[in-house]
Amino acid sequence: MPSSHDWINKPLGVVEAMFGKKTNAWKSTPFLCTYFCMFSFQVPSLNDVPLHYLKPNSLVKFRCLVQDMFDPEFYMGVYETVDPSTKANVLRCGKYKDVTECGVDLNSRNTVTAERQTFYCVPIPGESPWAKEISFLSAARVVPSTSYVPSRQKRSYEEDDDDMDTQPQKQREPHTEPHGNGDSKRQETEAPSSQTTTPSDCSSHLDLNFPLPGERGPACLVKVYEGLDSFKLNDTLEIYGILSVNPVLTVIVYPHRDPSLLLLNPTESMETPEEQRAHDPPASLVPRLHMLYARPLQHNNPLLPSAPTEDQSAFVSSFLVEMASVRAELLAYLTHVLLGDGLAAEYLLLHLISDVYTRRDVLPLGKFTLNLSGCPLNSYTERLYQIVQQLVPCSYRLSMSLHTMNSMRLVPKKDYVANRLVSGALQLARNTSLFLDETQLEQGQLDSSGVRNITALGNLISWQKVDYDFSYHQMEFPCNINVLVTSEGRSLLPSDCQVPLQPQVTPPNMEEYLTTIHMAQFTSQINKFRVYLSLARTLDYSISDEVTKAVEDDFVDMRKDDPQSVTAEDLHRMLVVARLLSLSLGQTTLSRDGWMRAKHIDMLRRSRTEQQKSLNGNEP
């Protein structure tokens, strides 16, 4: 059995050796899974280590989202080479390689053609700086097999490395303050400038097709050999594979006119330059990764054990004990953040752990879109987002200004010229928090793309799906995105639940107020919150027959009093609230108490919205 050292340093050698021995044992996925899990921490990650520090043809891992799937390609699985000096034929394995050895005998009878597919993968969009930082630091504990030692100088290295990125990398600074507030603030203010400057710089370069503007990190062409059908678009994966940055790939091989031959081979000339650029970008910018094994990620929270192994269940059961106390602390924290509004904090907490856990025909179950109305203006929402960002591993704030709605591309669209799926901001990984800031919206005219964008957002909220534009038809991709809408009045977008914010305190200086709250939290505390939010979502949940009966009775009673006020929709919502409420307390079954609590807070919320209505109620 090859040692982990061999695997990491010369995986191709291992593969060759096995090819020679004709064993197929290592191909079995469970074997590779346990095998890689064992030494996964030793494998350098493309997310953390700059590309030029990684040895070509070494084993690397990559945490990513499948952004596009290219057409399958045929390659020489087995081929024969002829040694020019000895004329001896040698059989070779073409798997996990981009180029062949010298002297391929194209006419050999032993050639076996095999099929593989290329996925275009990008780092998980909207990954929070803290998640990157933690996974980076934990990866840095092991020195990868290169001379690279992560240290302060890293930043300058990265800058001259990624010449395509003008935005200086701030989020990964090793000395980032633990609270990261000032840090993310800088980022926030810099983001627009980077957006405006990049196009001019970038136009000559490659568009790496990240779903979100201002993203950075390596994109990767992943060659997939096995289990093609098990992967889906927008899956988040941790891929273990062999890195290939062969410069041959970079040179676009145009057949030169050979004096003895007139080349009329059409296949190469048929690809448009755009297509070539999209499918064969220089390997120094978009490395190739030959997948040995991929693990689907349930979440990308580096604080949680990622594999559903025994450690995880041990971890979960140990954390369950603390659950209630962490919840109370988090609630207090959120209450402060929401200006002393406990009810809104409760709902925000429920929203943050919501998850589409199943679908019944077209109906997604478990989604819980929250509309926080009555938000104070003047950058309050921006601050709120930063706090949410600190808590969840993936998030994106979409400021719904007229300009962005009219100009931004939300829905991915197939570009038939370049033959790729041009990404849009709604191509997000599962459980990403999408923060829609409607307070930025002003009066004005939406043009047709603006209307399409709003419709797309509406569809996302109601059905948890995005209709990708394939020009001749649309294709529906289900998604699982937590949408939080902040608005002044009731949002123009649909939502599952609207909570008008009722500030209990009116701090004279909002900025200062929020910063102090934020600073008051210790990193360990925040980390606990992060674990709590990710964990609560993964818990199983069930409901007993007895409680089912009680719920039914309750509903009938409520309807009896006032059939107009309680509808099926209300029941839908209350069932979701009850579920989330139980989960937030670490309870995996619904109790009668849980149901009563859910009913109670929903009642409070409703009375508040009605109050709101009558306050601004000029309508008849």
């Binding site: 057409d71 399958p72 045929f74 073409g94 981009d98 062949t100 050895e101 010298c102 002297g103 391929v104 194209l106 009878r109 050639t111 076996v112 053609t113 099929e115 992967f231 041959v248 091989v253 057949p255 030169h256 050979d258 003895s260 031959l261 007139l262 080349l263 081979n265 059409p266 296949t267 190469e268 048929m270 019944r360 025909d361 077209v362 109906l363 419709t455 109601s462 059905w463 394939f470 020009s471 001749y472 294709m475 289900p478 069930s542 409901i543 089912t548 719920v551 039914e552 509903f555 009938v556 309807r559 009896k560 059939p563 509808t567 099926a568 929709e569 029941l571 069932l575 979701v576 579920r579």
Partner: protein
Amino acid sequence: MDRSKISTPTLRCFVETGPDHLCINVFSSVLPSEVDMSSPLMYGTPSSRVEGTPRSGVGGTPARQRPDLGSIRKAPQVDLHSEPPSADGAVASEQALGQKLVIWGTDVNVGTCKEKFQRFLQRFIDPTSNEDENAGLDLNEPLYMQKLEEISVVGEPVLNVNCSHVQSFDADLYRQLISYPQEVIPTFDMAVNELFFERFPDSILEHQIQVRPYNALKTRNMRSLNPEDIDQMITISGMVIRTSQLIPEMQEAFFQCQVCAFSTRVEVDRGRIAEPAVCRNCNTTHSLALIHNRSAFSDKQMIKVQESPDDMPAGQTPHTTIVYAHNDLVDKVQPGDRINITGIYRAVPMRENPRQSNVKSVYKTHIDVIHFRKTDEKRLHGLDEDSDQKLFTEERVQILKELASKPDVYDRLSSALAPSIYEHEDIKKGILLQLFGGTRKDFSQTGRGNFRAEVNILLCGDPGTSKSQLLQYVFNLVPRGQYTSGKGSSAVGLTAYVMKDPETKQLVLQTGALVLSDNGICCIDEFDKMSDSTRSVLHEVMEQQTLSIAKAGIICQLNARTSVLAAANPVESQWNPKKTTIENIQLPHTLLSRFDLIFLMLDPQDEAYDRRLAHHLVALYYQSEEQIEEEFLDMAVLKDYIAYARTYINPRLNEEASQALIEAYVDMRKIGSGRGMVSAYPRQLESLIRLAEAHAKVRFSDKVETIDVEEAKRLQREALKQSATDPRTGFVDISILTTGMSATARKRKEEVAQALKKMIQSKGKTPAMKYQQLFDDLRGQSEAAITKDMFEEALRALADEDYLTVTGKTVRLL
């Protein structure tokens, strides 16, 4: 034979490139003088190897190259038993040799293959053929001989051959055709030309007849293409997404010596032309120059084809394939067309740069087209049936039939429909019947045109009664469904619009939702929010099932045989039970009468209902995994069931059912006539027939029987009870839907008008009155409450009688 290796091309390379001696050995030992390697006709037995069309005497019909087949000329024949080549072959008689010779790398013997194909052409009869391109042919005569006759008349030298015919006639020949198309098709060409010119020795064609096989059963789906299909003949379906400009491809290069002006021709061989290094005439080296004008070129076009959306697994992106069309197939398809392509699947190694030692280990793949078949085009004539036929395996059909034989199949299916939506049984049943549709009938002979078979349904009701969800479900269920919201769609988006292609500057007709859902269901949400002009488009679609377009110089009529499933909200956001349907949703009655069924989705507000609803919802949220699994299965079965019934079942009315329908209609008319109003129109009868037919389809029955009529009646009654009940009298009044006003309302209107007239007359000679004053007076006088609307209506009625005019705030008598 292990086809996963690219055996054929490698073998051929072997032959062509270096070690020619091997095969030449075979020949030189056997037929040293007769085998001319450069002869364009390398296939026949030695006796048939004559330049030009064999035995035709028509030297005027030139052979035409077939770039779609690649370079085929160099494939030599080998003796099957001559490996290793032995001297025995030399003594064999020529006749025996002919039997044994096969084309290198294959098991195809040219002579046998040709004979078999000629036999096929002369004998194949398919009495059950229902393909529309065979229209006008005598089905009991050999099909392809008739086609040859057609060729001699029309002069288009192309013979399309359905591979399934070949298969049913000679399975071995079919196998060879699929496995070695590059060798077998030229043999077919030869066979057909011999036959043709024997029969019609005097006909002159542009070039020799080319055989174009189609409908190879090898592959149906782009996703299932794999290395084993390389160099085989395949048929795939897909949608054209891009076509390139025409590319001239050199077929034959013309070289002239710069020194002595000696000229020579070199043919293209696998995309390469070997430039002669030495002039054969004057022996000067490197003196030959290519003369473009005198070289021969053929047309070529690159076409990109994308997998059709129906074939794709969820959550993946569609695959694309590059296709090359040659000669007259160029420009036959446009982006957006759905086509079936028959062709040869090719894989070419990435061209290696001679200066580079290692190469990319990837092949480029494409398909050389032999035959296109547009699936859209066919739909103009009739339903696209043959592409669906293969969807069902024997077992599947058995399962479906078993299901159909159950007595409660109707209830089962309707409850499988959108299980997450609670109750509304009748609505689900209505939608179920809509999914099946009626039987298509053609009355064009009698001048009536097509008789609509599609059932249209309107759902109206309070917001939040899961109307949208039902629409979404239906949209996801049917293969050709479209979902649009009335708010966002314009007339243009629904019908068709003309777009200028940025590349070619060509005007292209882009079809909208209604045309796209031809043979499917068009779901329109927020029907009430639709603008009037948009809605007016629907008038034609919903009755005539066609769409007329006159735009930017394009005038055409498209088929839009779509069922419409629409959902509308009441104008006052809450359904007002005191008003009629028309008043509640404010839609023109002309449009409403085109709906077969109009359902109200209201909140019934009673305790038992609430309890069931609560139970249903809670179960929805906490059902176990297995139950969910089970249901998914149901949806797949339901899909197949509907597809099967729509394709194969065409029920007709039997005698009893016709009688029952007549009775039902007469009864409906009678009810109304008793109260002095019309309660049924022929349209109701038509929709009754459609519903009955659909119900028979649900049972997989070829006869519409009384039970079907009973159910259709019941459903229609239920729908009418909900939507056409006059809120004032409580009676069902069809005129609410057909004329927009109930009979009682009309009567009342008249009464008010009369009362007003009387009042004005009683006032004596006052030429002008204040509007408000008059209204107050009338209100004071009348016992019943008079609304402003009623008052205005009365004024309008009187104005129509030329009794008075209303100008601004004053009313003048005339």
